[in-house]
């Protein structure tokens, strides 16, 4: 949940349909990060994924609570963000809070709210089982092919929250 300490660190607006977008060299000056993604899938539908510190090892665990309502667990080489195919060709928003991202003594938790307003929505709790400070955040779709990409005009904004 946003607080009055929101400080914009960086923002990206995609010029063309894109599979993956990253923020790197993230300042360690804050306690938490908030990543807001607003846009849509270029043609069909996809699911967004998050990769931290370019680490694609088997380090990510996720629990999803969606519009069903239903809940399920996922784990693997990326952090799953939401219900399968929720990122549709309709405008949608995702807000992810990365807690304690700059600490080095604990693993990382990510809280995500997502929704398209028309078809799917939900809440995700993600766990990244590494304790290194987060300096790179990557968002990508679950399939690298035309029709399943983040559409041109999609914006990704990273905010810092002081501890």
């Amino acid at each position: 949940m946003p607080t009055p300490t929101y400080i914009a660190i960086a923002t990206t607006t995609l010029a063309s349909a894109t599979y993956s977008a990253s923020f790197s060299g993230i300042t360690q000056a804050y306690r938490d990060l908030v990543l807001v993604v607003s846009g849509k899938c270029d043609v069909n539908a996809a699911t967004l994924q998050m990769i931290l510190n370019n680490n694609t090892g088997y380090n990510y665990y996720t629990v999803v609570f969606d519009q069903g309502p239903s809940s399920y667990q996922d784990e693997g080489n990326y952090m799953r963000i939401g219900t399968a195919g929720w990122w549709t060709n309709q405008q949608a928003t995702m807000i992810a809070t990365l807690n304690d991202y700059s600490t080095t003594d604990r693993t990382k938790q990510v809280l995500v709210r997502y929704g398209s307003g028309a078809t799917k929505m939900g809440f995700t709790l993600g766990h990244y089982n590494q304790s290194a400070a987060i300096s790179t955040v990557t968002v990508r779709t679950d399939y690298n092919g035309a029709g399943y990409l983040m559409a041109a005009g999609t914006t990704l904004t990273l905010y810092g929250i002081a501890g």
Binding site: Y6, I7, S116
Partner: protein, 174 residues
């Protein structure tokens, strides 16, 4: 600071039909509304609070929600609506000093895309039934948002309810 307080409305004696923020500057990126409210209707324990943009009551809103009431969870979707229902909130038939809490996040309010809304709400009470609601809404209009209205499904927003509107800018250093 990327987050700025635009204004706070506190409902006066007798309640109010709505809380409105008008003349919102279009210079920022997102809107964030913090709401603390209850209904002055005296029929039931809860009443729905709604959100409308640009005072537009045409049927171009849709929303889906997940809701828990202490006993079960449910999910519902709605289309062609004239507003977005954010949540059930307390009303006078419940505990008289209990207000419901929530927020609504409106992304890209000043650009030419359709507008999406994320909202979370809780309405605790001295009773077994209380609501926790997560809602996502879509306003299929590309106009810049210059005003926001909050209103109950029936009756007025009760005295001492408050709403604060913040803007958030995605530009670093803004």
């Amino acid at each position: 600071m990327s987050m700025k307080l635009i204004g706070t409305v506190t409902v006066g004696a007798g309640g109010a039909a709505s809380i409105a923020f008008n003349g919102i500057p279009s210079t920022e990126t997102d809107l964030f509304i913090v709401i603390n409210c209850r209904s002055d209707r005296g029929l039931f324990q809860f009443n729905a609070i709604n959100l409308r943009l640009n005072n537009d009551s045409t049927g171009i809103y849709s929303f889906i929600r997940i809701r828990g009431n202490g006993a079960s969870a449910s999910g519902n979707s709605y289309s062609s609506q004239s507003q977005i229902e954010l949540s059930n909130v307390n009303e006078l038939a419940g505990a008289t000093t209990t207000f419901s809490q929530g927020y609504a996040y409106i992304r890209n309010y000043s650009n030419s895309a359709n507008k999406t809304i994320l909202s979370d709400f809780v309405s605790e009470d001295n009773a077994t039934t209380s609501y926790q609601t997560m809602t996502t809404g879509l306003y299929e209009n590309t106009s810049v948002i210059s005003s926001v209205q909050l209103f109950m499904a029936a009756g007025n927003i009760a005295e001492n309810s408050t709403a604060s509107l913040y803007t958030i800018n995605k530009v670093a250093g803004a």
